[in-house]
Amino acid sequence: MQSYRQSSQAQEAVRSGVLVAVEGLDGSGKSTQVYLLKRWLEIEGYRVFFTEWNSSVVVKKATRKGKKAQLLTPTTFSLIHCTDFADRYERQVLPLLRAGYIVLADRYIYTAFVRDAARRCDPQWVRNLYSFAVHPDITFFFRVPLETAVGRILAGRPKLKYHEAGMDLGFSTDPAESFRIFQGKIHRAYLACAREYDFEVIDGTLSIERQQQIVRQTVTKQIDLARFKRRG
């Protein structure tokens, strides 16, 4: 289905390990769900590893400097985050996959696809940028109405960060309003991605327990968990 090439190394990785990613807007509840999935797999005795979208040490300093001084353009914003992702991917995700782990990722390449698209980067360029990374075996997308997600974030956070609110894009000088517009663009880009990449769409308005039940059922059905059982 993917139109671009993946390295043989990357394909080999898919065969020995599995990758499960969760995606969704800030405030969609995806982190809670992936945490519960991880706890379940650990307690059941599977080789599982959790990784999240935050900065690697090497790239962190540059990212922080760029954000603080507002030096970043959409292109450099995209590239520096991809550098950061590549570091984590080459250092951690790929070795884990090749070593035969279930790797759970809180946000993955699609986060970059939707965020960079909202910043008006060329979508094909961004997809190519990330084409060194394998696609997940399962991508759960936690779908909530835009207002629900935005409301949760605005209620829980006294002050939005500059880039988080998409202030660099000049939609509005009011951070809350800017955040709303920015998240709206991301929301629409996610819906398009969900079709393009066959996401498992989970209704994020259901109870936490019900969502987790669906997540576990999907994992059980699509992944041969027995292969990942710890011995002894």
């Binding site: 090497v58 959409p74 450099t76 570091d87 080459e90 094909q124």
Partner: protein, 236 residues
């Protein structure tokens, strides 16, 4: 220059899609690139050409690799430690390039400057390709780059390069010898082999990207004269 006719600069284009908010039509001025290995005389030639352009009344801006405000310090630190994997290193360099592209090169070209680049995307692509990078991936990555008006390739034989490098630094640099590629534990062998691999990549690119090859095995003055006469045809 009194009486000199000013030719309109050629229309600018990009290798792929320009960065968001940039249009080729807004770009005036010229983009001139000098490519070549370390020790090929690039820096001297850049300096000489800048001087000559300024003498003739052209506002000139210099760019090069690892000079961005954004990531140059971090890139230097990463280079010292040899801690980054291939893709990460490529992307880090691309970030450095994009930062200078959007903050220095494009504004300067919009204002009608001559942008003189001491190395450009070709070095970055060649380094990636000899390390096994996917050509399509690298080409798409650098699709954000404007097509230069002129690209000089300083050709110097590996033997001359090794001598110039030793004379300048008293030793062979870890990266210019590509010790990360592990061609050989022997630095001299590794340097020679790597420089040949890079030269081969440049030869492959020469036709595709329309390089203007310059024999760099000559005196700096002779090389500068060749470069000037070609630049004079473009920039009046």
């Amino acid at each position: 220059m009194p009486g000199a006719r000013r030719a309109a600069p050629r229309r600018k284009r990009f290798y792929g899609t320009p960065p968001p908010g940039v249009s080729a039509a807004d770009l005036k001025g010229y983009l001139i690139v000098i490519e070549g290995a370390d020790g090929s005389g690039r820096s001297s030639q850049t300096r000489l050409l800048t001087q000559w352009l300024e003498q003739n009344g052209h506002a000139t801006v210099n760019v090069g690799l690892r000079r961005s405000t954004l990531v140059s310090a971090e890139l230097n630190a990463a280079k010292r430690g040899n801690v980054l994997s291939r893709t990460t290193m490529s992307l880090f360099y691309a970030t450095d390039f994009a930062d200078q592209l959007e903050n220095v090169m494009i504004p300067a070209m919009r204002a009608g400057f001559v942008v003189l680049a001491d190395r450009y995307i070709y070095t970055l692509m060649a380094r990636d390709l000899v390390r096994g990078g996917d050509p399509e991936w690298v080409e798409s990555l650098y699709g954000i780059a404007p097509v230069p008006d002129l690209v000089f390739l300083l050709r110097v034989s590996p033997r001359r390069l090794v001598q110039r490098n030793l004379e300048k630094n008293l030793e062979l640099d870890f990266w210019e010898s590509a010790m990360d590629v592990a061609i050989s534990r022997d630095r001299f062998d590794s340097f020679m082999a790597y420089q040949k691999m890079i030269a081969r990549e440049f030869t492959r690119m020469e036709e595709k990207y329309g390089f203007y090859p310059v024999n760099g095995n000559r005196t700096p003055t002779a090389v500068a004269a060749t470069i000037r006469s070609r630049v004079a045809e473009l920039v009046h």
